[in-house]
């Protein structure tokens, strides 16, 4: 069941679209904002609000990179690994991150605190290498600065 808040927020999104399916992404993101990810039941409930079948909505949901259909940690770290950041040393950041968190790229820490994901070019190549944690951009990173960012987000290593 969608929570009262989720329902209200989705209804709000529906107000601004001409056709209900246009709110697919926004509605899924409402669920994701509240739950961190889109679980099967959430997907079904959103689908029925949008007058779509679960298959139709899941077809859309699974197409996009940033709709999470599997659980993620409380903090989602997106590390840019595209060309400029790769040249500028994103691999050393990744190495530091996987060491510190003890999980490989694409995984969630056992305490469900962090999920580490690669992301295509974040459009901040002049600050390369960069990463994004919970929507906040961090540029000019070094392995040392990575530790600081992790601590800012509650990492107690």
């Amino acid at each position: 069941m969608l929570s009262h808040e989720e329902r209200i927020e989705i209804e709000e999104e529906l107000k601004s679209v001409e056709f209900k399916r246009a709110a697919s992404i926004d509605a899924l993101r409402v669920v994701q904002r509240h739950r961190g990810w889109v679980d099967d039941q959430g997907l079904k409930d959103v689908a029925s609000m949008l007058e779509m079948t679960p298959s139709e909505l899941d077809s859309v949901a699974t197409f996009y990179n940033l709709i999470f259909r599997r659980p993620v940690g409380s903090h989602v770290i997106l590390v840019c690994n595209t060309i400029t950041c790769w040249m500028m040393g994103c691999e050393s950041l990744l190495q530091r991150l996987t060491e510190r968190l003890g999980v490989p790229l694409g995984a969630t820490t056992s305490d469900n605190a962090f999920t580490l994901l690669p992301v295509p070019c974040l459009g901040a190549c002049d600050q390369s290498p960069v990463m994004m944690v919970d929507g906040k951009l961090y540029g000019g990173l070094t392995p040392e600065k990575v530790d600081e960012v992790l601590k800012e987000h509650g990492w107690k290593g």
Partner: protein, 903 residues
Amino acid sequence: MAKILIENREYEVEDGQNLLQACLSHGFNIPYFCWHPAMHSAGACRQCAVKVFKNENDTRGRIVMSCVTPIAKGMRVSIDDPEAKAFRENVIEWLMSNHPHDCPVCDEGGECHLQDMTQMTGHVYRRFRFKKRTYRNQYLGPLVNHEMNRCIQCYRCVRFYRGYAGGADLDAFASRNRIYFGRSEDGVLESPFSGNLVEVCPTGVFTDKTLKSHYTRKWDLQTAPSVCVHCGVGCNTIPGERYGGLRRVVNRYNGEVNGYFLCDRGRFGYEFVNSLQREKEALLKTPNGTQAVSNEEALKLASNMIGMGGRLMAVGSPRASVETNIALRTLSGAENFYSGFSRHEARLVSLIVEVMERGLARSPSLKEVRSADAALVLGEDVTNTAPVLALALRQAAKNGPLKAATKLGIPFWDDMALKTATQGKKGPFYTAAPYAIDLDSAAVKTFHGPPVEIARFAAAIARELNGSLPIVDGLPSGTASFAREVANALLEAERPLVVSGTGSGSEAVIQAAANVAWALCARGKKAGLTMVMPECDSLGAALIDSRGLDEAAAAAAEGGFDTLVIAENDIFRRMDTEDAENFLASFSNVIVIDHILTDTARAAHIALPGATFAESTGTLVNFEGRAQRFFQVFAPDEARQASWRWLKDMMDSTGLKLQKWETLDDVTADAASIIPAFEKITRAAPKHGFRIAGQKIPRQTERRSGRTAVEADRTIYESKPPEDADTPFSFSMEGFQGQPPSPLIPRFWAPGWNSAQSLTKYQEWAGGPLRGGDPGVRLLEPKSAAAPFFRAVPMRFKARKYGWLLVPMPRVFGSEELSALSAPLASLQAKPFIGIAEEDAERLEVEEGDEIEVRANGKSFGLPAVFVPGLTRGVAAVPLLPGMAIFTLPAWGVLTRAKRRAA
């Protein structure tokens, strides 16, 4: 016509086609995957690349995808161009990079389009050396098997399932090289057209699970052209047999009827032929019970019964062939022959015959239905009574928006562009039914109400179209304006269509539907009128005799009859048990011929084992009025034979000189001479003596395995193939290997084309009619020049305080007698229930699932309540499931709460 140059030779091609279609039509081989003649071009697979040159000075040319390239006058095309060839080979190489190469254990092997296309491109050497991607498969129900690793991502499955058939539970998931086709979770595919995935899929992702349970390669199947016996549409099929069992049914293209697709009832219903309910041997009722007897003995006893000179009555069947019914009528004489309809059915079908014979409106073929540009469905739950007609109507519903899109210059075959332009908009398509029906989702607007209200709604439409028709009093203003909207939409169309039928059980609905179509005709419109009838030969039987079993029983009750002969009819499905028992009891001798052991056969003094459609040959008349021939696929066990032949044998052995038949053709010829409407019936297919270059047409393929070894466990001799005097087919692999006339095509195959896609080689042009015209002959054309309007308008529906109007609710799985015996389909049947409007739950003091006692026609049943959307308050829906075809519907009854559901 436009002239184009292919490999520097000039060819005439149809204007408006795409290049792929044009080249295939001229017999060129271009590999393709995503293009499908019914679903057209998607441009996804990039397999059909050819090279196009600007003019004769252009030596470089340009690679194009032929399926998305419009024909242009004078265009120069090369299929053999080395660059184009190399690219096509690349495409296969990509597609095969992740393919599991599991052909030996794949059900598609030997009829795989991917295999064929791989061969065609010449790709042999594998360069991709990395790990293949793999997927998890899903459980999709008892009909369709899923093996995603074989997928080449051509998108045909979703384009068919969603785009063509209106399904919503199969889709494409994820992206890049992780695309997945399936459901959002495991589960039975909901569409009654899911089986088409088996043929639509160019490889082995979706395969026939029923075939899998008794698997045989395509080349080992013995096949013959057949006609589906599971509803009145008359879809053409190709059943395949091996070792005395039917292994599967696939589509047999008939451009005028089913085109490329079947419904799941038609595709998987065949398992009844293999079922345990089959009558295996002649049975004789003795004081000590039933005992099996030899055919000779049974025939002798039966002949004695009919030869004693007493009066004889014959009851035929709407599910038997024309020839069987004619044979019965010959035996009993016209006066004592009844087609075996129930009292209620008889009224409905005779009304329909009257409408079709007297009326102005033509009954269109399904091809014409698909091209209708406005349609109105009245009272008929088409998806559940005539599924493939529903599929055709879904296409018709798109025609309005498509017409608008083609004004933007988008060709009819550019499916992706049309999707963009039409945005899933609906054309003028309207439905009216007692409850929410599947086709509502394709309609712009729907009407829900009990049959009389549907009739009144239709009467209001007719009145809008023709001022001489009676005004409908007391219509709510919303309904009146809706009627006006529908009338205007039908008038604006070029090819409007009205669909109704026996499904609602209401004569008033049929009459009102006829009025609408006739009113359109009277306004100069070429309106079509489709009247759905439930069984494979309902119309054929009705054209011979449309009196009901009630009249037969009344005649029998008057006395004087000694013997009753029934063929292929379970009268217990059509009469109250008591009435049926009394009816049977009024005869000293009851002989029943049937291929399944029905209650009627069990009650017979002599039950003779008949042959199913797969074991016999005959003619069926579909509800369009098209006579079509089905041919014997395999020779049945010795005991079984076609009903008409049992009858002939009986007549022969009694010495009654009632006929001079030698082959089936003689019976058909009699039908043509006896029944005026059957005048043209012998043209349905070539006669038994037809030969090509002196040869018969083989039912077996050239590469059939084990011809000389199949009986090696019993005999070292190769036995003689069974004789077949009734058809131009042989039970062997010897005979003419080329393309026979369209009604005689036993299977589709062409060199290099082992899959169903070989069909294009049999068509006049790719996607067009079969060469020489599509099979079947139309028997009925409208005769009248004036509209013989019905003048009565029914009274308004009034919900009763204590009574409930029970309306019939046909179900695609369960309502048809024979397919209900197919085990995989039986497993999909709903459990009996009583459908009520959710708003009535309070009145009945029930929740969904609670048991309700339903009383009507002096009978009573306890059934769980199911909320059915769209039902009017005071109306309840009775699903027509096995064991529930008990009420004459619509009827008034009483519903009461039985007991609370267990907490």
